[in-house]
């Protein structure tokens, strides 16, 4: 019966136009079109065999049409190449493949390597050292990670921890331009992978724990010149809210809400950063993304909705103008950043075909939203949530549970999900073949106690003592298949440790993900049955990809190297006796040093 539902659901789901990759413009790439197009009534684009951006396509499906590796043969997958990055911090990046070259970026100091896939052993073609300022490490909240480079039009674009956006010539590795867009002295860093849309490089900042004022900027891909900046707090003129702005819900309508929903001037240090994922719909010509948590975490000192933190935005890429916005968690209480990925699909909803975006949100709900209007169509919990009681679909309001409101001088226990949310940055994949989302996430709760927060530029601005614990059942992670149409889980694999890696799903009906004790796993996308695993030696928090090599065969690649917020106890050598270390994450990860060690290595597999 479940299987039947899946088939019905998948048959009715159609991948949107946005999923179509733009024509390949890679230098000297061979024709890598493949015959194994997705089936079951979808009109997914032809697969080009490349992986030019971390999310694979503009719709952020992280779906590959390659099917040489499938459920029947994946158990024969073997290691064909490995490469040490020389860095021992959390490796969150996705390797990028354009033509016959793979591009890998390390965590700080953000070295970029180009590996030649056409030669045995994939030797290094070139290496670029941006030499970021070492002091940047002191203002990076959650390990010194980087989430990937992006390839566009013969160039590689990436961000450094010390706030430089850099363009390299993909063939030679020579720097084309280098633009400084942020300042570590006020706590800004950059960890996100840019998205390039219509010749514009879209980048945002990190630092929601440092009292920064979050923004998204568009840089000219040719010159590196900043074309526009959209702040996520402050007056409409700086948030780029103008006549085109038509938010769906009344609480998001009004003038200068980015000022009036804060105590005087606190919007200037109010957070709302953007260190996650952006999607683009060419048909609507809109980009979609969400902003991060308000600062400080202690909510008592910032009465009001604190707009436009934890807010979904739809913007025009040419001007940055906002078309709609929806505040996911008004007056956020628990650090539920809204920077997660959104997957753009077209699907029938109550008999009408809707253009939707699907977001497995940090606050614990999978949001299905009309991406034209910003209306929330459904929001169903994908794990145990007690900090809120769902979303009122009439008003769009998140229903807070008053029992879990934090206070200064009072310890509130068992708040679920914990500060990293039901799901942090680690991106979901969507298969148009099965119609399912594949969501890597954690299962954590926390105790919180509000404390005073003092703003000192370039230092943390948090005001909260946090102590995280495993959620119900005691397993700290889960890899879950989710049907967005029914709003229900299809299957789930419980993992001992948080699943902090990304995922990829293929036309061969195989989904890949990694665990924090270093296992790289392949599972059957329809049943969740584990088909293969490989021990990489260090915890995996990177994003797997799959591509077609110059030899015509399918490969799978992943970076291993534990770290990130969840793995800092290992990568930064934190002391497990202090439960509040790493903003409280250490309490839930005391056993990690016994289960994995630092690493920094690329692994590539094939049949």
């Amino acid at each position: 019966m479940r299987r039947l539902l899946v088939i019905i659901a998948s048959a009715s789901l159609v991948v949107c136009n946005a999923c179509k990759p733009e024509p390949s413009r890679s230098t000297g790439s061979r024709d890598v079109a493949v015959g194994a197009a997705p089936t079951e009534g979808t009109d997914a684009p032809p697969e080009d065999g490349q992986w030019v951006r971390p999310a694979k396509d503009f719709a952020s499906t992280r779906y590959s049409g390659l099917a040489e590796i499938n459920t029947s043969n994946v158990n024969a997958l073997r290691l064909v190449a490995s490469f040490s990055t020389g860095v021992l911090h959390g490796h969150e990046a996705a390797p990028i493949v354009a033509g016959s070259t793979m591009y890998v970026i390390t965590p700080f100091p953000n070295i970029v390597y180009a590996l030649d896939l056409s030669k045995p052993g994939f030797p290094v073609k070139w290496q670029f050292n941006p030499t970021p300022e070492p002091a940047a490490q002191g203002v990076a909240c959650c390990d010194v990670v980087n989430r990937g480079v992006v390839f566009d039009n013969g160039r590689i674009f990436f961000n450094t921890l010390d706030n430089h956006t850099i363009a390299l010539d993909a063939a030679s590795g020579k720097e084309v331009w280098n633009t400084k867009v942020g300042d570590i002295n006020i706590g800004e860093t950059m960890t996100m992978a840019p998205l390039v849309v219509k010749g514009k490089v879209l980048v945002g900042d990190s630092g929601g724990e440092m009292g920064v004022r979050g923004w998204l900027k568009a840089l000219d891909a040719n010159s590196g010149k900043v074309l526009w900046t959209a702040y996520h707090t402050g007056p409409d003129s700086e948030v780029l809210i103008g006549p085109a702005f038509k938010p769906h819900y009344s609480q998001d309508q009004g003038k200068d809400l980015g000022v009036s929903t804060w105590p005087a001037d606190m919007w200037k240090i109010g957070g709302g950063t953007m260190w996650g994922w952006i999607s683009y719909d060419p048909a609507q010509d809109l980009i979609y993304y969400g902003s991060g948590n308000p600062g400080p975490w202690n909510p008592e000192v910032r009465p009001g909705d604190n707009k436009w933190t934890t807010t979904m935005f739809a913007r025009k890429p040419d001007t940055g103008e906002a078309v709609w916005a929806y505040q996911i968690s008004p007056h956020d209480l628990h650090d539920y950043d809204g920077i997660n990925e959104q997957i753009l699909v077209d699907m029938p909803w109550n008999g009408t075909k809707r253009k939707v975006l699907i977001r497995p949100e940090r606050n614990g709900y999978v949001y299905v939203m009309d991406r034209v209007t910003g209306e929330v169509l459904s929001a169903e919990a994908f794990g145990y949530v007690n900090s809120t009681n769902g979303v009122d679909l009439k008003t769009g309001m998140l229903q807070y549970n008053p029992d879990k409101e934090t206070q200064v001088g009072k310890v509130v226990r068992d708040i679920c999900p914990a500060a990293p949310g039901m799901k942090d940055w680690q991106p979901t994949a969507y298969s148009p073949k099965t119609g399912m989302l594949y969501i890597p996430h954690q299962n954590l709760c926390m105790d919180e106690e509000g404390v005073s927060a003092n703003y000192i530029a370039g230092t943390p601005y948090v005001g909260m003592n946090v102590k995280m614990t495993a959620g119900p059942g005691g397993k700290r992670g889960e890899f879950e298949a989710w049907n967005p149409q029914t709003g229900k889980q299809v299957w789930a694999i419980k993992e001992d440790l948080p699943v902090w890696s990304g995922t990829v799903v293929t036309a061969g009906d195989v989904a890949f993900y990694g665990t924090m004790n270093g296992l790289f796993k392949a599972v059957d996308a329809r049943t969740g049955k584990q088909l293969w695993q490989f021990d990489t030696g260090s915890g995996i928090i990177g994003q797997p990809i799959t591509f077609k090599g110059p030899d015509g065969h399918q490969y799978v690649a992943i970076l291993s190297g534990v770290g990130g917020w969840s793995g800092m106890i290992v990568s930064a050598g934190l002391d497990p006796r202090d439960s509040s270390a790493a903003l409280g994450f250490v309490n839930a990860m005391r056993d990690l040093p016994a289960k994995t060690k630092m690493g920094g290595k690329l692994f590539v597999f094939a049949l």
Partner: protein
């Protein structure tokens, strides 16, 4: 009965002797100088009041934002035995006053020498390098670690920073 009382009073006085070894001359000294002659203990190591004030500053100046309650986070752990720039009072003073290249800010423009010496005492207390009797028996906030009073004395070792940039 009065003998018991007298004994109790004497014991209390003795206890406070151990707890409060205030060097009344140190205040004048430390506000003027940024070095301390004794490399084995700092000017406030034996001063419960100074150590507690150091703890207050540790929160107020957001030290706890990076180093948590000693376990670390954005900054290294301070309650363990590993020291990147040294554990003696002068070395810790320099780390706080002048900062360190991998992210530690310089505080000398915001704190005077006396305040920094108090922070030095609190930082040393986190790994048990100050006398047990001069450390508080409990925290003011949510219990996140064993009582400071119970912290065992660590044997400091110098390590290469886990924050040192690789590949440069």
């Amino acid at each position: 009965m009065s003998r018991v009382r007298a004994l109790a009073v004497v014991l209390m006085l003795l206890a406070s002797c151990e707890r409060e070894d205030r060097r009344l001359d140190s205040r004048e000294f430390t506000t003027r100088y940024a070095t301390w002659s004794d490399s084995s203990k700092g000017p406030y190591d034996h001063n419960a009041h100074g150590t507690t004030e150091g703890q207050m500053l540790f929160e107020q100046m957001n030290c706890s934002g990076c180093h948590a309650n000693g376990g670390g986070g954005m900054g290294p752990a301070l309650m363990d035995d590993k020291w990147i720039y040294g554990s003696n009072p002068n070395e810790i003073f320099t780390s706080i006053a002048s900062g360190r290249p991998n992210g530690m800010p310089a505080w000398k423009s915001r704190l005077n020498n006396e305040q920094i010496w108090r922070l030095v005492a609190y930082v040393r207390s986190l790994s048990g390098l100050t006398p047990k009797g001069d450390r508080p028996s409990r925290e003011d906030h949510m219990m996140v670690k064993p009582s400071p009073y119970q912290t065992p004395k660590a044997k400091p070792v110098i390590v290469r920073s886990t924050f040192t940039p690789a590949g440069r």
